[in-house]
Amino acid sequence: MKFPKFVLEKRSQSPAWLRVALPFGAILLSFLFAAVIILFAKKNPLYAFYNIFYGALGTRLGLMETIVKATPLMLTGIAVTLAFTGKFWNIGAEGQLYAGALAATWIGIQNLSLPVPVYILLEILIGFAAGAIWGIIPGILKAKYKVDDVVTTLLMNTIMIYLVGAILEGPWRDPATSWPQSIMIARNAEFPKLLVRSRVHFGLILGIVVIFLVYILLKNTKLGFMIRTTGANKEAAYYLGINVTKTIILTAFISGGIAALAGVGEIAGLHYHLTENISPGYGYTGIIIAMLAGLSPIAVIFSSLFFGIIITGAEYMSRVTGITSFIANVVQGIILLVMLAMLLLQEYRIRRVE
């Protein structure tokens, strides 16, 4: 028996529609995979999917919750987008998020007598600084000593999460509950709510503003040009006079700072106190969001809303159908894999050979 043979052939030009179609193809494929898994659980996949979307979009409560979930994802997503554009492989948004949350809590529990806008600005600045410093360490290690950034950023997540745990178990343990959680931040340090009877907060505006700032940074500024050039070809960039070391360090600094803002928002906008699990992996989801958005800043808005839908909807679907909400993680994981595989198709085509 003869099997048909297929080869990958490099495309001379990748069509523009393909770039747009890829994420949708990835989403579709991952739903198909998820359907197979749901079938194994002897449940109806269509019913499950219907409930995901109904739960996330069909009610006001669901819709609001979708936006709340999308808020930190926009910030981690854009942080990763910026880093990946400069080929700084920041897998550390999760740790940087916690760094931001830790810093925002610290300033928030000082009970400073400041007007709300000033207090918020202070939280944002200090939170940004904390994440930026956490991000710049692997940045310096990569730029100056060629230490692999994937490894350092990833491992620094664990360090930060244990650091937060140690602080919460020890000095910051809430005396009132004796749970490993901090006391509440000051009332005048809280982000305002944007809509009544909802948890949607100022962090959403912060997220969208930051996304537009990154868009402008990459497109119109000298630093953005340095980042894109370094990302496109580090060796050529250096040869042609770009300060690659400085660019990588600055990329790491800004990316870390932005990821930290997600943590600031979760503390000041949603939880008002620090716990060990304010993030169910928003930092890692940020990577998938950035990939799904094809590293386009504006697309990050839609890509994070989509993940808001999946996360919120999966919880609802789980309550209705009895399928575990971990199916949301499965969808996320598959999207990343499929997206990575499909990016190959942007450069290559599959051709059957005789």
Binding site: S12, N220, K222, L240
Partner: protein, 508 residues
């Protein structure tokens, strides 16, 4: 005579490109047939189809009268076809003998290297392809590696040999040796297909010449009924003139001085051994030498991407040793890198961004934070027009351009800053005749404006035609300097293989 190869109406399309269109090609037993054409004319594609590396889109192939489908190099080898590629396919840490027998089907579980060694030696004698059979590949010169490649093919009983741009990396003497081997092979009734774009070589060695242009056969001729001029016209489609510079009239003061420069190669060998030379303004100093004799390291050090272990470089009297690329650019030094795709441009950026890259932080192209796209585009449009970059727009990715147009983008970026010194490495490698002519013209123009040029090239004709002075580099040392027209091609060739200029008279 028997036609051992007949290729009938061969068409090969790549996405968006027709590489071969309805090509009819044949070769007789015991014939040396040249495939002549510019880069991108489709010579290599046609031969890769014959060797089973590409599958043809349509057409038929007959080998020794039998219709065949060649799906892989293995099937081609079984049919007696062997190919020597432009880039060698040898295993560096293995010896010559090991490389030759590597992968042969006759090998049993236990390699009988002693037996193979004897056979290799007999082949070397028979075909005049001498290499130390026990040497490791990485200790061999480029010419010797090529001999190993040919031996490998002959060892597999090939009677049809394809040589793809085989002379591109050889010195004049090595080319003579290669031709001697080819004649022996011919006398044994083997068929040789010689791919080249060098006219004099094709005229010297061929029985028959087939000319390709834009994927089609445009003519067939013999060395007896053609000359360089007629061949060039067939190949390019119009009359061509070699750019030969007039000797520079007003050579000035030394603009670049190199003193006792020693540089390590990537692998830690001493690649340049304390060399000293200078380049004057209004002068082209050509560096002749076979690739791998220190040229790359010299280029890297002058470009600022490699630090020397000792010695100094002075530009305009200022010590610039070990300075970063950025400060070298800002001093007014232009660099055309050997690897234009890796260093010359950033392929994933647009044409206007690549034109900008060396001065993106200069006014009026930016303010303290932002880029001024209006000025940038205006500047880019002017340059694209002035340097005749063929592109539908300045907004397309630079990697989409042809090699010649990419080189024009690089030239535009460099010359728009009127450099005082230009480092040009392999500036025309892989370019078609038209683009080469254009670039040679621009280099001479720059020299006339007062620019000092260090021209590194493995194309000896280019060096001889353009340089006011020639420096011959061998094994990281200077074999000597030659003024224009002072030495013959052959003498320079001898120096390229390690004869010092002072010793030339003893040899002749």
């Amino acid at each position: 005579m028997e036609k051992v190869i007949v290729m009938e109406k061969i068409t090969k399309t790549f996405p968006g490109v027709i590489a071969n269109e309805d090509i009819d090609f044949y070769a007789y037993r015991g014939e040396i047939v040249s495939l002549l054409g510019e880069n991108g004319a489709g010579k290599t594609t046609l031969m890769k189809i014959l060797y089973g590396l590409y599958s043809k889109t349509s057409g038929n192939i007959y080998i020794k009268g039998k219709k065949v489908e060649i799906r892989s190099p293995k099937e081609a080898i079984d049919l007696g076809i062997g190919m020597v590629h432009q880039h060698f396919t040898l295993v560096n840490p293995f010896t010559v003998v090991e490389n030759i027998v590597l992968g042969m089907e006759e090998n049993g579980f236990i390699l009988e290297l002693d037996k193979a060694r004897e056979k290799v030696i007999s082949y070397m004698d028979r075909y005049s392809l001498h290499v130390d059979q026990d040497c490791r590949i990485d200790q061999l010169s480029v010419g010797e590696k090529q001999r190993v490649e040919i031996l490998k093919v002959l060892f597999r009983n090939a009677d049809i040999l394809i040589l793809d741009e085989a002379t591109a990396v050889l010195t004049p003497q090595e080319i003579k040796d290669l031709f001697k081997t080819l004649k022996i092979l011919k006398s044994e009734n083997k068929t040789i297909i010689f791919i080249s774009h060098k006219l004099n070589e094709v005229l010297e060695i061929s029985d028959r010449i087939v000319v390709l242009r834009d994927g089609k056969v445009v003519g067939e001729t013999t060395p007896f009924s053609s000359d360089k001029k007629s061949l060039a016209k067939m190949m390019v489609g119009k009359d061509v003139i070699d750019v030969i510079s007039q000797k520079s009239k007003n050579i000035g003061e030394a603009i670049l001085e190199v003193k006792n420069l020693s540089v390590l190669s990537e692998r830690g060998h001493l690649a340049l051994k304390g060399i000293s030379f200078h380049v004057k303004s209004n002068e082209i100093l050509g560096i002749a030498g076979v690739s791998g004799n220190g040229q790359k390291e010299l280029e890297d050090v002058l470009a600022g991407i490699r630090k020397p272990i000792s010695g100094e470089i002075y530009f305009n009297g200022k010590n610039i040793t070990g300075k970063s690329p950025k400060s070298i650019i800002d001093l007014g030094i232009g660099r055309i890198p050997e690897d234009r795709m890796e260093n010359g441009i950033v392929g994933d950026l647009t044409i206007y961004e690549n034109l900008l890259i060396e001065r993106f932080d200069c006014k009026p192209y930016c303010t303290s934070l932002f880029l001024n796209y209006k000025e940038i585009r205006k500047y880019a449009k002017e340059l694209v027009k002035e340097f005749d970059v063929r592109t539908p727009s300045i907004n397309i990715l630079t990697s989409k351009l042809s090699g010649g147009n990419i080189q024009k983008v690089i030239l535009a970026r460099i010359f728009s800053r009127s450099p005082k010194f230009l480092l040009a490495s392999q500036a025309t490698r892989g370019l078609d005749v038209g683009a080469t002519e254009y670039i040679h013209g621009k280099l001479i123009e720059a020299r006339e404006r007062g620019c000092g040029i260090l021209l590194i090239s493995e194309d000896l004709d280019e060096i001889i035609n353009l340089s006011d002075r020639i420096l011959v580099l061998y094994g990281g040392e200077i074999m000597g300097f030659a003024m224009r027209d002072e030495l013959t091609r052959e003498d320079i060739g001898l120096m390229m293989t390690g004869t010092r200029k002072e010793a030339l008279s003893e040899i002749s």
